[in-house]
Each structure stands twice: as structure tokens, then as C-alpha cells.
Symmetry: C2
Subunit: 327 residues, 2 copies
């Protein structure tokens, strides 16, 4: 790697001048600038970020904390975050923490050791651990005063329930996401509001995780417990797909005598047969907006909207019946 010193020598100026020319800071004569530019080009020079970061006490790196990169919802978020931070000249240090508090702390330490500029987290850990690092929370957001980007879970919950209500449900079961995940509770509230207003009965099935590995077993338990359920509001698309498969295996016809709606709209939800009806969260946008929000905080030091809520959309596919036109 060539250094600023070599550039200075070739250009016949001091390293200070090179630095100023490169950063457009302070005065640099047109003549000096040209000489520097020529030298930079000739030597194919690009600055060492580590040295810059040491002096500035701030790197061009942003830490990304994810609960489970194998869950297809998060790669999309990651992609959005990556594009967002790249746009502003930052790169990502990856931290897949698997809902493990210790691992999260380890990563936060590593981030800090690397003079990270900020953290973007989709993990519902203790924000106290972030210490002085600026951070933005994604998706799983506590309802306090943090900077955050999330989607409209309450409306999403209502939309899911309305979709079912409008389709002659006989026996409704709501599959509720893990208690620790704040958005689960909000979605449930949305579900319940609609169901109560429609005076429809429903039952609850509490899950303990969003983990891929547990989906199939949970789906089995679910249908074991509610063998006659005909309308399911699932906790997310992964679990909806598992339930759908289990129902199909048991000979239920979808959507004729078994209908189901998921949540998230993963890339695969439209690729299965029958296509999964679901509430689409704008995962990529959540990531992208989160990145923008953090970069704004980092650069401007303040920000107009510290909480960004993104709309969800209903994707009707084949896993629910035709709408009851009499409604």
C-alpha cells in the first residue's frame, strides 16, 4: 500500500498539503492540488482508513446486529442496510447474535474496539450496552425514546384479521409470536381489535420463537391442539408455511377448508403453492431507512424524525378463500 508520504514526495509537497488536498480542508493552491492529484493517480493511492480512524476516533464502519441471518427476513434487511450505508460511504461489520445476550455484548465490545461509527440493531437487547455508540433500532423496537425504524404492526395485525373476517372463518386460531418480541404483542392487539368488533370467537396459540428450526415441530403441535381450525393468523411466514405444509399433509384442502395468512412476505411466500397470503413488511426499506437515519445522526448530529414508521401491505394470494362479497 502506498502512503501519503510517498504521494507527498512525488508531488513535491508536504504530507499536510496532501491531506488537505485529499480532504478539501484548509487552503491548497490550485498548483499544489494538481500536483497532488497527479501523484495520487500515478501511485494509485488511496488512504488507509485505519490510520484515519485512529486519529479521528471514529471509523467508517457501522456495526449490524441481527438475531438470525438464516431467517429470510433478515438478509433482506441486511441488504437494505448495506445499500443504505454504502451510499453514505460506510461499510458493515456483521454481528449475527442469535438472540444470545452474551454474543451481543461480545460484538458490542468488538464494535467499540474498532472505533465503530454507529450500530444498527434488529435485536431486542438492552440498549444500555450500547454505551456511547450512536444506534438505530430496526423492527423489534421497544416503545421508548430510541431512534428506530419499524413497520406499522398494529395496522398489520388489523389487516390480517380483517382478511380472515371477510372470508367466512369457522374456527379461528391466532398464532402469537414470542412474548419477548414487542411487535408480536402489537400485532396481536390489532388482530383482537378487529375480531372483537366483528364478534368473532378465536383461540390463541403462543409460540416461543421465530426460529426456522422450530417451525415444523411447532406446526405439528399447533394442528395437534387445534385439529379443526379452519382459519389461521400465523406469527410469521416461516411458521405459516410450516403450518400450511402440516395441514396439507393431514389432507386439508387450502383454501377450501383451511385458510391461513402469514406475516412478513418473505421472498419465498409467493413461490410456494398455494401462494401464501400475508402482510408484507418492507424489509429492505426498513434496513435502508435505518441506515439513512443513522447516517443522518452521525453527520448532522441531530435528526428531524427519530422514529420512522413504514406502512405494511396486504398480499392476497391463494392461501385464503375468495372474499365474501356479501360483507
Amino acid at each position: 500500500m502506498t502512503t501519503i508520504k510517498e504521494v507527498a514526495k512525488l508531488a513535491g509537497v508536504s504530507v499536510a498539503t496532501v491531506s488537505r488536498a485529499l480532504n478539501n480542508s484548509g487552503y491548497v493552491s490550485e498548483d499544489a492540488r494538481k500536483k497532488v492529484e497527479a501523484a495520487v493517480k500515478e501511485l494509485n493511492f488511496y488512504p488507509n482508513e485505519v490510520a484515519r480512524s485512529l486519529y479521528q476516533k471514529k471509523s467508517k464502519l457501522i456495526g449490524l446486529l441481527l438475531p438470525d441471518i438464516a431467517n429470510p427476513f433478515f438478509p433482506l434487511i441486511a441488504k437494505g442496510v448495506e445499500d443504505g450505508v454504502n451510499q453514505r460511504g460506510y461499510s458493515l461489520l456483521l454481528g449475527n447474535v442469535e438472540e444470545d445476550i452474551e454474543k451481543e455484548k461480545d460484538y458490542l465490545k468488538i464494535f467499540s474496539q474498532n472505533n465503530i461509527a454507529g450500530v444498527i440493531s434488529a435485536v431486542q437487547g438492552n440498549t444500555k450496552d450500547f454505551q456511547n455508540m450512536p444506534f438505530v433500532l430496526l423492527d423489534r423496537v421497544k416503545s421508548d425514546h430510541d431512534f428506530a425504524v419499524h413497520s406499522d404492526d398494529y395496522t398489520g395485525g388489523m389487516m390480517a384479521a380483517e382478511t380472515i373476517v371477510a372470508r367466512k372463518p369457522k374456527e379461528i386460531v391466532i398464532m402469537v409470536g414470542p412474548k419477548e418480541v414487542p411487535s408480536s404483542a402489537v400485532r396481536l392487539a390489532g388482530n383482537q381489535k378487529v375480531l372483537k368488533e366483528s364478534h368473532l370467537d378465536y383461540q390463541l396459540f403462543q409460540t416461543t420463537s421465530f426460529k426456522l428450526e422450530e417451525a415444523e415441530e411447532t406446526a405439528e403441535q399447533f394442528l395437534e391442539k387445534f385439529p379443526d381450525v379452519d382459519s389461521v393468523i400465523a406469527s410469521n411466514d416461516v411458521y405459516a408455511m410450516a403450518v400450511m405444509k402440516e395441514a396439507l399433509k393431514r389432507g386439508r384442502r387450502i383454501p377450501e377448508d383451511f385458510q391461513i395468512i402469514g406475516y412478513d412476505d418473505m421472498p419465498f411466500s409467493r413461490m410456494v403453492y398455494p401462494g401464501l397470503t400475508t402482510i408484507a413488511q418492507p424489509a429492505y426499506e426498513i434496513g435502508y431507512k435505518g441506515a439513512e437515519l443513522l447516517c443522518d445522526i452521525l453527520e448532522k448530529g441531530f435528526v428531524e424524525n427519530s422514529r420512522i414508521q413504514l406502512p405494511v401491505t396486504l398480499k392476497i394470494r391463494e392461501s385464503v378463500r375468495k372474499k365474501d362479497e356479501n360483507e
Copy 2:
């Protein structure tokens, strides 16, 4: 952040002694060591990686280049890589390059600017661009002398074909992955060897991408071109699922009059109905082994096996017919 200087002051020794104590390098008296440890604990000190990295010209970061993090095969690889490098004290700088040469170059530059220790890449770019960075290639491996971890594509190709051959195929079509991806050609060779030895006819359908977004359109074209195909060897699971859905939409019954085998065994392949029969690549292990290989190179400077080939396994699910027992 507290620095080594503050630790030295509190411990009543020099920074040099603190450094030696922390790194177990050089001589440190028991007494001095204790004082340092006490001070470290009291101040909750941990070393700044940026400073260390500047001096050593090598950070504890490893760059990870991925073609498409939204493709469910790669998050698994990423998880394996992450666990593998974590184990050895490294962290990951993420680079999702989307099969874009320029983006790959940009990332390589960023990696270099951050004194990256090495690169793990699942992208088939030009290894010349890696310059002096040690690197390990995953999965999509050119057949030259690079360090690499990949799975046994030839055997995988044979297994896929054998699976079809043993199940009374009527009209076979092989969906061939993108020409630029080396493993596609190897798998095809494996397919063809088996098919030729069985004296079975087959047709080829060339795809141009592994991208999720193009799967559905490709699946449509595929069935448009081969409306009567009854046995498909797909290029990967994503495309297999898309074809499966398209076939189901067209009223084909799976597996009675349409059978299909995929490649990869993504997490979702077993969660769809009917379950997708496929050749499982050990994605997590590929990542993990790749990480180990790179760390060995970095630490030992050499390595016994520079190319690691992992076995693939056949996962029979419901998307193919019962085996013809007369074979």
C-alpha cells in the same frame, strides 16, 4: 474508552510493561502482571483494535464477499463463516456484491483500506484483484490452484440424475445453471454421465442466473418450452420451487405426473408441500471450513490441504415418485 496509558499510570508501570502483560510477550514479573491485571479490571480496559491494527498492518477483520445475500443459500454460508472466524478471534466485514464486478472491486479496496487480514469469497470474480490479501474461495471455485472449499458437484450431478433415472422418467429436462458459474458445468457433466450410461434421452434448458427475482419468469418460460416434461433436474432449489409452483398451477400432479429434483437443500426446501427432493450442499460447513482454512493460512502461514471438498447428500422428499424397485 480507556487506554493503555491510563492502565499504566494506575498500575504504576510503563505502557510497555502493560502491553507485554496483555500479550504475554517478553518478560513480565509476577508482581507487575498482578498490578496490571488489577488496573485492567478496575478500568474495564480492553485494547483498541484500530491502534493495534495500524502498527501491525493487519486487523482482526476478515472480508466476506457474497454474490447475493437474499439467496437463502448464502446466509447459511455466512453463518458458517461467521462462527468459524469468531472461533479464531476474527470478525467479518460484509460485502454483498450482487455479481457486480465494480462493486466487488470497491469492496476489495475498502477491505484493503481497513488492513483486512484476509478475504473469504463466494463470488467468482477475478482473483487478481485480491492483490496481496490472503483469500479463500467458497463454492463457486475456478479449477486452478487457489485455496478453496467446495462441495462435490460432480457426484451431486450424478446423484440427481440417478434419482431421476430410478424413477421411470418419460421426458427429462435438465435446467442448467448460468454458464459463468463453474459448478453448473460440473453438475451438468455428472448429470450427463449417468443419463448417457442409462441410454436415456434428455433436453437442456440454459438459465442465465441464480437470482431469486428471475426464478418465476424462468419457470414460466421453462414450462412453456417443455409443456410435457415429466422429470426435471433443476439448477437449484429456488428455481426448482418456482418450476414446481408453475407446474402445479398448470394442473400437473406432483410427483405422479411431474417429478423434480433441486440442488442445495435450502432451509425451505423441506418446508414446502410437496417437500422438494434435492441434493444437499453443506452450506454451513462450507462456510465454517472456509473460515478455518483462511485462519490456518493466516496463523500458520501454510496449510496441509489447500482445497477442501465436502460431500453432498441426497434428500428424498415428496417431489419425486417412489423408486422403481425393479432396477
